[in-house]
């Protein structure tokens, strides 16, 4: 059954690692939903969070093939509901003086932040799971969204379990 899977990958922080990982996905026909990279506390190690769409066979192959990359140190397939996952959204919406209050109210309800205001626009920042991001985008749509930018999902296991 096709389903979303979230995978945490620790890699050596070498040049070219990201292209190797991304290349492997396209080459083997795996569909990446999102990908987020950043350094860990150890600057020599980066952590990549990948969301991939596929059945159990695909995820098994993704993790085994990733494991074969010499730069890949560790892989963990996160179990649904046992991790906290967040994406960051920046959203620029049209906002005349008249509409501003209404937008600010929505932003407050979502516990989002306003990071930029101009004569005609408001830029909203929210870190949330995908559902919430969809919801706020949907509610702001009628005002006229000019642009959105999203990061890939980053995820961390609940409780004492760690990937590192």
């Amino acid at each position: 059954m096709e389903q979303k899977h979230t995978i945490s990958v620790l890699v050596e922080n070498h040049a070219g690692v990201l292209s190797r990982v991304a290349g492997l996905f396209s080459r083997r026909g795996f569909n990446i939903d999102s990908l987020a990279v950043g350094e860990t506390r150890n600057p020599e190690i980066s952590r990549i969070t990948i969301v991939v769409n596929g059945d159990d066979y695909t995820v098994d192959q993704v993790s085994k093939q990733l494991n074969k990359l010499v730069d890949v140190i560790k892989i963990k397939i996160l179990v649904d509901n046992e991790f906290v996952g967040r994406e960051l959204l920046l959203l620029k919406v049209k906002a005349s003086a008249k509409q501003r209050a209404e937008i600010i109210q929505l932003v407050d309800i979502f516990r989002a932040n306003i990071v930029d205001v101009s004569k005609d626009t408001i830029t909203v920042e929210i870190s949330a799971d995908q559902d919430k991001i969809k919801a706020i985008t949907g509610l702001l749509e009628p005002f006229g969204i000019l642009e959105t930018v999203r990061t890939g999902l980053v995820a961390i296991q609940r409780g004492v379990e760690c990937v590192e």
Partner: protein, 541 residues
């Protein structure tokens, strides 16, 4: 000790026992070639960089050493790609070294710059673009370990010219530490016990031997298991020579070009032990259905192969030799009724084709060569009908070696590979089985053979066509022949003679034995051109 980068590379090659490298020079790699003059490492100048990788592959497959090849930046490097991909598919340990433009010029599309690490990433076990000369010794050392351990494969190191010239403080001590790379695996005893229980209970157990049997040196233990516990064996193309072909429990090659006995056994067995093979699509005649009704045990050094092509009940991850030894200790002698068919001996195989006048039957030639050649002769093949004829019609002993491009099916592999085989085994007979199409893809390597004074027996099946593709068009495209005719072949005997090689043409069954004897006793490279009917089929049943 202070030295330049190139010197450090040469020093580490020597340290890893490299005595010969195959290569082609150019500006960017020149500092390395200059250092090479001071070393005892022999350089073999090929005629095309692809040939350097194939030669390194033939060398590696027949010497238990890592094959090393070298090329310059840009076109030199890109010419390696097919060779690297071929080695990758067949898990051959190769270190490929390429020169690169100055590090300060990288990414600027300067003369002869090519992103070779980017281009070869899909076909390399690992690759490096060296940007810091102080890391160069560690990288070269790592490359050898990566190439030769675990599932072997090609590793490429791209070295900018300034790095080759740069100074490094060389310390002759290496710690191999790649946190994400392991190559020694603990055996999983529980799973081994489970596997042995399944085999002991089986009424119809079968072993499929893959290329891993050859590369892990498991021929002997495979034979012991098969013989003592009466388990028949079939093999993939990459494992030809894993058992004597005349051994009674050897059912021959499996798959679309394999024996009837092997394919029947695969579909009828109840426990299937796949040892050191990925069971590629050419090996399974029926992928999904056949394997679901039996217990499949899979031994592989590469966990990614488990469950990739066939579903596996018990996966045994690790070195095939170690695991087979562990299994051997736990198997029981069980009385079983004979459940499999014997393989038809080669002399009884028939293509049901009437050989035209002026042509010979590949079977007659190959059986004659097999019976008259040395018991430790090394065979190389090209791709096409010639490859399948060689695989099916030459009866090998375990002391023989069979060198072929399996996973990639690369035409033009066999001739340069034979160069590597001969260079690594000067005292052995090397017999290159050729097709007229394939030979012409690497024809230039005749120059290498000449320059090195090598003695290679070249058996050319000249059917004036790309026979295997032609046959496909006969069977599947209603004889609409498109782009498969090689009617304007050169006179190969004359061509070879211009390189100083002897040769003769076989057009008649009566002359086969005499000509084969002549070839085998001749000192030096010899071409035996066998004229074959373009309609001669691939399969003999």
């Amino acid at each position: 000790m202070k030295m330049n980068g190139a010197q450090a590379v040469v020093t580490i090659l020597e340290k890893h026992g490299t005595d010969v490298i195959f290569g082609y020079p150019g500006t960017a790699i020149s500092p390395f070639y200059d250092e090479l003059l001071k070393s005892s490492i022999k350089h073999i100048l090929v005629r095309y960089e692809q040939g350097a990788v194939h030669a390194a592959s033939g060398y590696a497959k027949t010497t238990d050493k890592v094959g090393v090849c070298v090329a310059t930046s840009g076109p030199g490097a890109t010419n390696l790609i097919t060779g690297i991909a071929t080695a990758y598919m067949d898990s051959v340990p190769i270190v490929a070294i390429t020169g690169q433009v100055l590090s300060s010029q990288l990414g600027k599309d300067v003369f002869q710059e090519a992103d070779i690490t980017g281009a070869t990433a899909p076909f390399c076990k690992h690759n490096y673009l060296v940007k810091d000369v102080s890391k160069l010794p560690k990288i070269i050392n790592e490359a050898f370990i990566l190439a030769s351990t675990g599932r072997p494969g090609p590793v490429l190191i791209d070295i900018p010219m300034d790095i080759l010239k740069g100074e490094v403080d060389y310390v002759d001590e290496f710690i191999f530490n790649i946190p994400g790379y392991q190559y020694q695996f603990l055996l999983n005893n529980e799973k081994i016990i489970k596997a042995c229980e399944a085999i002991n209970k089986a009424k119809k157990p079968l072993i499929i031997a893959g290329g891993g049997i050859i590369s892990s040196g498991s021929k002997e233990i495979l034979h012991k298991i098969s013989k003592e516990f009466s388990i028949p064996v079939t093999y993939t193309l990459m494992a030809k020579g894993c058992l004597d072909d005349t051994y009674d429990l050897n059912l021959g090659m499996l798959g679309s070009h394999g024996t009837i006995a092997a394919n029947k056994a695969v579909s009828q067995c109840d426990v299937l032990l796949v040892a050191g093979g990925r069971v590629g699509d050419r090996s399974m005649s029926n992928s999904s259905g056949v394997y679901s009704k039996k217990t499949v045990i899979h031994i592989d050094i590469d966990p990614a192969e488990m469950g990739k092509n066939i579903s596996v009940d018990i996966g045994l991850h690790g070195d095939a030799k170690e695991i087979l030894n562990a299994i051997y200790g736990k198997l029981k002698i069980v009385k079983r009724d004979k459940w499999f068919e014997d393989k038809k001996p080669v002399e009884k195989l028939d293509s049901k084709f009437v050989i035209s006048k002026g042509c010979v039957d590949p079977k007659d030639v190959l059986t004659c060569i097999a019976s008259l050649s040395d018991s430790d002769a090394i065979y190389t093949t090209e791709v096409g009908q010639n490859q399948i004829w060689a695989a099916n019609l030459i009866e090998l002993l375990t002391s023989n070696k069979f060198v072929t491009s399996g996973g990639m099916g690369t035409m033009g592999y066999g001739l340069p590979a034979s160069v590597g085989c001969k260079v690594g085994n000067q005292d052995k007979q090397v017999i290159a089985i050729e097709g007229d199409g394939s030979l012409q893809m690497s024809l230039q390597e005749l120059g290498t053979i000449m320059q090195e004074g090598l003695d290679i027996k070249i058996v050319l099946f000249n059917n004036s066509s790309l026979g295997m593709v032609r046959e496909l068009q006969t069977l599947k495209y209603d004889k609409r022949y498109s782009g498969v005719c090689l009617k304007s072949n050169p006179d190969f005997i004359k061509l070879f003679s211009s390189y100083g090689f002897a040769g003769s043409r076989l057009t008649n069954k009566e002359n086969i034995e005499e000509q084969v004897k002549k070839m085998l006793s001749y000192k030096g490279t010899y071409l035996l051109e066998c004229v074959v009917d373009e309609d001669n089929p691939t399969i003999y049943r």
